[in-house]
Point group: C2
Chain length 277, copies 2
């Protein structure tokens, strides 16, 4: 048998939602024991917890807290809803600070009772309104364009082109873009737009998983890297060429994997990561 | 009560698959009795039938046969598969002629084991190869861009921009674009690209339905116009402004509606059409 160097996992980050059945304490312990160095925390994982203590616990496990997921959801059919979204985003920024991370991912939202144009304006206005708070807190806001199949209720920002346009229009060092292969892999302009994103200093985060063939659920059937048809390695090389050298964040929502032993799933994640990132 | 003129349904076309439980004879009889003037025929509806006779039957019901659905599926991982796709497209063109329609809709296909770039090249080459046959037969080929959620196996052509690019590159009077609101509604460039499509003489067909909120199935949960979040009227006005004055084709795949009485469903289609087209 040929002996090979173990593939480098120093840039592997895993989202808490990926191993959803685990508490954040279990996730921290198991990630750390497996040599994982980064964690992105979903807000449901810190609900009803002392956030500062949780952040300390993660750091004690030698985990970099890559980002907090997620703010956003700016559109609303009336001013009260939109004001409440702004308040919640300020709260999320504060939570990011307490936790000890300097990035908040934005899933921008969409309101199906109004036009996408209106939702897009409200997203732009909403982000503009929270920039001062983000700047004062030292928290970067990463706009995550979502797959067009989520344009009804989750995000009116559906391509990296739109996210780039928005980040450039807002023109703040506190605003950038999160690239997720699941949402963007199909886009014929993806390579060019990743380059543009990097060139303008807006490439803040990189999320990976795979698109299963067939995909049986629009939300909860993501695959491990290598399990589907997304060229994760190729997109990773574009992101790298665009100057990004941060964590590769594994973000998988999967009722299939959530039913498995999470310890076994974690091993699979690391194996898939070594092979496909 | 105010009396109003009944809304005009002279440009209403319905796809046979929309009322899938009906045979094509039942569809023809019921469409015709309700004043519907156009029908688009899916190939499953004419399987094992005498196609010429079926076409005559449709014409006897005073129905315009707007198009035959569908050719396409050009990509393949080997030359035998790709050759077989070309043969099948030639056959579909012949079927269109026998049936008595001058348009074949192309769902272009995608092969998940290869890159989207490769699938896109094979689509271009495949269409180029069948143009002489289409031209000789007098059958126009309408490239239908499909929603990005179908980029794995159904189509590597996922935006109207791509379809426009492809139609312009092929530069044949026999090649154009079919605009379906379900696939394209989310696109921020949609209005501009519809104008471009019309300006270049490529706007060949217009398909309507709605995106239900929530959508529970990626394929078989389409809604009636007005039932979801697609601005069908607005997109219709763009298509009209781009010079299109053909049929508005109702294409709905829905296990929900297929379970209902198709006579009741047909009434609902006509009501929804009057209100939202």
């Amino acid at each position: 048998m040929k002996s090979t160097e173990p593939a480098d996992i120093s840039q592997l980050c895993i989202h808490t939602i990926t191993t959803k059945p685990w508490s954040i304490e279990e996730a921290a312990k198991n990630f750390s024991a497996s040599g994982v160095k980064g964690i992105t925390v979903w807000r449901d994982a810190i609900e009803r917890k002392n956030i500062k203590q949780t952040g300390r616990m993660l750091h004690e496990h030698d985990l970099t807290i890559v980002s907090l997921c997620r703010g956003g959801f700016f559109p609303g059919s009336n001013v009260i809803k939109r004001k409440s979204a702004i308040d919640d985003n300020r709260k999320a920024i504060d939570e990011a600070v307490e936790l000890g991370t300097s990035m908040l991912v934005l899933v921008c939202g969409a309101e199906p009772s109004q036009s996408l144009e209106d939702s897009r304006k409200q997203i732009r206005d909403g982000i503009a309104e929270i920039i001062p708070h983000a700047s004062a807190a030292g928290v970067r806001l990463a706009i995550e364009p979502l797959h067009p199949m989520y344009a009804d209720t989750r995000s009116a920002i559906n391509t990296i082109t739109q996210a780039n346009d928005l980040a450039e229009e807002l023109n703040s060092p506190w605003v950038g873009v999160a690239v997720d292969v699941y949402h963007l892999w199909w886009d014929p302009f993806l390579e060019n737009e990743i380059m543009r994103c990097g060139r303008n200093g807006n490439l803040m985060a990189f999320h990976i998983c795979d698109w299963k063939v067939p995909t049986t659920d629009m939300l909860l059937d993501r695959g491990l890297m290598g399990e589907g048809c997304i060229p994760v390695n190729k997109i990773r090389s574009w992101v790298k060429n665009a100057g990004f050298n941060g964590f590769n964040e594994v973000e998988i929502f999967s009722t299939t994997y959530w039913k498995e032993s999470q310890a076994v799933f974690l091993k699979k994640i690391i194996e898939a990561y070594k092979e496909h990132s």
